[in-house]
Symmetry: C2
Subunit: 441 residues, 2 copies
């Protein structure tokens, strides 16, 4: 039994907003040290209060919950060229972030990144999401895609020609070996994330790895350990985490307007067919809704309510042995329930709801890059917030990677590796409940 | 594992709409016999096709899925006085309803109901829902509330005076003994439904019993057995079941417009506090969200997707030992997943979503008596349907009771006792998962 939160809810001011359970993702931008670096006062960044410590994310939404358009400040970074940054290294290595206990600043990472040059991206995998990242990088000043590696030279050549990329490699591993590459984007199928990421980290290449981060927690742990041992940047490409709507949502939750947060619903279902073919339906490639869609709803729920301590799930399995649909309930360690659903066969509402004792936020479809939030109370919409934007939805994660690399951070505090590991552990437990395993696990 | 529905979904026309799994509630109006009765051609009912067989519900929505406003036809019954009904008894007793195998027509029930007189209601329990039913009965021609019984004479007198009811009894049981009573409405706390209903049935009084029907399946089974043995009418007061929005929703599902139905979400959460007092929080009175709100979401899901074969649930328990919040996933025997949530502590969205391979219906808040349905497909609203009405939301169940009594039916085919038993069994299993028991169980 939990303690009687209904009683506490009376006694506590609404603005407390379950502060005792705000997970690390919401709290990392709280200054914990006066050590660290500051940006050049001439930098556009000086328009906002730069935290000291180890955060590499402009902490706009968190420090200014009443700010009308934090996403505009995100966009403002688009106008910053690398030359405008005054690169200042942290005088102290290993500054601790209180909420996670992890250091995001190892012995100063310099890697291949030079503040006066573009960040040079090399991509492993030549699929749809790789194309999307090429577009995103091109919308973000300070980056360029220099090479692509695929499972064959033909595929690499075709992709490179189509996207006008100078480099091309006949294997994924060649991208890791390429001296022109500053950061590797792992965009291969789920089953290859582990090996591809390790190949890059072994050569001290920073990595942005597509979600789901790995097939399981064990693989993820190895990847994280490899990055931490070498003090090399690693991040899960959970692009939802960097959406303007998510920053706004977090600010609303922290403002206490919803009272104490008790309940989350998120529903990620679309018709992935009609043909049950392709990687989503392929068990050998790490398919199924839990891996591809569950990773979103679990990240969404845990980013607001923290790690779960009870996990239940059931699913409908396809003849191919993957879950076509799943229903998941998380009980969070610090209280709150999340009721989550995923589907490849239902054209669903794709919304999320974050409900407190004094109202809820409707995260309009598609919730993972929502154009609109509504604050609703007792059946009435009390505020509608436009969180739409132009341009690639993936550019926000690219910006985060650039910020982190420029600061020498080895992790993003907004999508920390501890959070990724927690999500992977949760996915493991969900798969255990529904009886889904992958070959060679 | 279920069979590969993703493959079947391709092969089957969209309009098949999971016909193989349409539960009884959707199918009972299909004529299964030419036996039965017909209404007087002068009756307003002759505007619609009267089914033969044992249905006592005007089958408007089911037989005319394209009918724009079936609720208007429901409303038209308001203008029918009992004298306008030509009472015709079924020439054949025991006509079987194919989909349930149950007889809703025992040896012709005549009871105390006379077609030329009002149905005389006696109410056990003097709380809020009793007041609501008084109002509803007064909005439906052909009925009157003749007496009220409470736990004390004072409470009964106060209620009767307030509502201008002639009879009043110092105990609930006295209502069952009152010769002026045609039907007993059991509106006591959850823990008393079983005893109160049995007391009425023992005296061959028809009963409308508030939801949740009983504390558990065992009690419900005894109540149903008592009614069936005596061929006396009994129905769970699941008023949601008779809402215009629900009829429209069933018609949309049957029309095949959503393709095959795969997934349901329903969320019933509101702030029941701030004080954790009253029957909802009292374990000795059968409190908790599963009993009071779970009964709605489970009924909603099973009415569309049929009985569940896998049930998982987890909850947050209060210091008082009841569930303050619960998350429930049902896997339905014939396929489909329902992801359901209940809460007394979160001001939630109160919506339901019914999703098929070709779109979903949003059942707008409050879903259990929704004023609006939206048909949505791939993120776009393709149709909005007004299902609002004036007057008491409880009058539709009162109309159903009157129809059934007048026809001599011992069960409502729209809210059958088999469905009630299935829901109670499901609630038992949910309580088992969350560890909720009631004193004396």
């Amino acid at each position: 039994m939990t303690s009687s939160r209904s009683v506490r809810a009376q006694a506590r001011p609404l603005a407390s907003a379950r502060r005792d359970s705000v997970p690390s993702a919401l709290a990392v931008n709280t200054p914990t040290s006066t050590r660290g670096f500051a940006l050049d006062p001439r930098s556009p960044y000086t328009r906002i209060t730069e935290p000291t410590g180890t955060s590499c994310t402009p902490p706009v939404a968190m420090n200014s919950p009443s700010n009308a358009h934090p996403e505009l400040l995100d966009s403002s970074t688009l106008s910053i060229t690398f030359a405008q940054f005054l690169w200042r290294s942290s005088p102290i290595n290993g500054t601790e972030i209180a909420t996670t206990g992890r250091s995001f600043m190892g012995p100063l990472y310099r890697g291949n990144v030079d503040a006066m040059k573009n960040v040079r991206w090399g991509i492993m995998g030549a699929g749809r999401i790789a194309s999307a990242l090429v577009e995103a990088v091109r919308q973000v000043p300070g980056g360029e895609v220099v090479t692509i590696g695929s499972s064959s030279r033909e595929r690499a050549e075709a992709f490179a020609d189509l996207h006008d990329i100078p480099g091309r490699h006949a294997t994924h591993e060649d991208v890791a070996r390429d001296p022109n590459v500053d950061i590797v984007y792992v965009a291969t199928t789920n089953d290859l994330h582990h090996a591809n990421t390790l190949a890059a980290l072994e050569r001290a290449k920073p990595v942005l790895c597509e979600k789901p981060f790995a097939l399981n927690h064990r693989q993820a742990k190895e990847m994280v350990a490899a990055a931490r041992e070498r003090n090399v940047f690693l991040m899960e490409a959970m692009w939802m985490r960097f959406q303007p709507a998510i920053s706004r949502l977090e600010a609303i939750v922290r403002s206490g307007r919803l009272g104490e947060i008790h309940s989350i619903q998120a529903n990620f279902g679309f018709l992935a067919g009609p043909h049950p073919s392709g990687r989503l339906f392929d068990r050998s490639l790490g398919g199924g809704t839990v891996m591809d869609l569950g990773v979103y709803v679990v990240t969404f729920a845990t980013m607001l309510l923290g790690a779960p301590d009870r996990i239940i799930a059931t699913a409908e399995m396809s003849d191919e042995g993957i879950d076509e649909q799943a229903g998941i309930v998380l009980h969070h360690r610090n209280g709150g329930l999340s009721t989550l659903s995923t589907s490849f066969v239902a054209d669903s509402n794709m919304e999320a709801f974050v409900s407190g004792s004094d109202g809820h936020v409707r995260v309009h479809a598609p919730f993972h890059h929502s154009p609109t939030l509504s604050i609703e109370r007792r059946g009435t919409v009390v505020e509608t917030i436009d969180t739409s934007y132009q341009g690639s939805p993936y550019r926000f994660e690219v910006e985060e990677v650039h910020r982190c690399l420029l600061k020498g951070a080895t992790e993003s505090p907004r999508m920390s590796l501890d959070d990724t590991l927690m999500v992977m552990r949760t996915l493991d437990r969900i798969r255990d409940r529904i009886g889904l395993t992958f070959p060679g696990e």
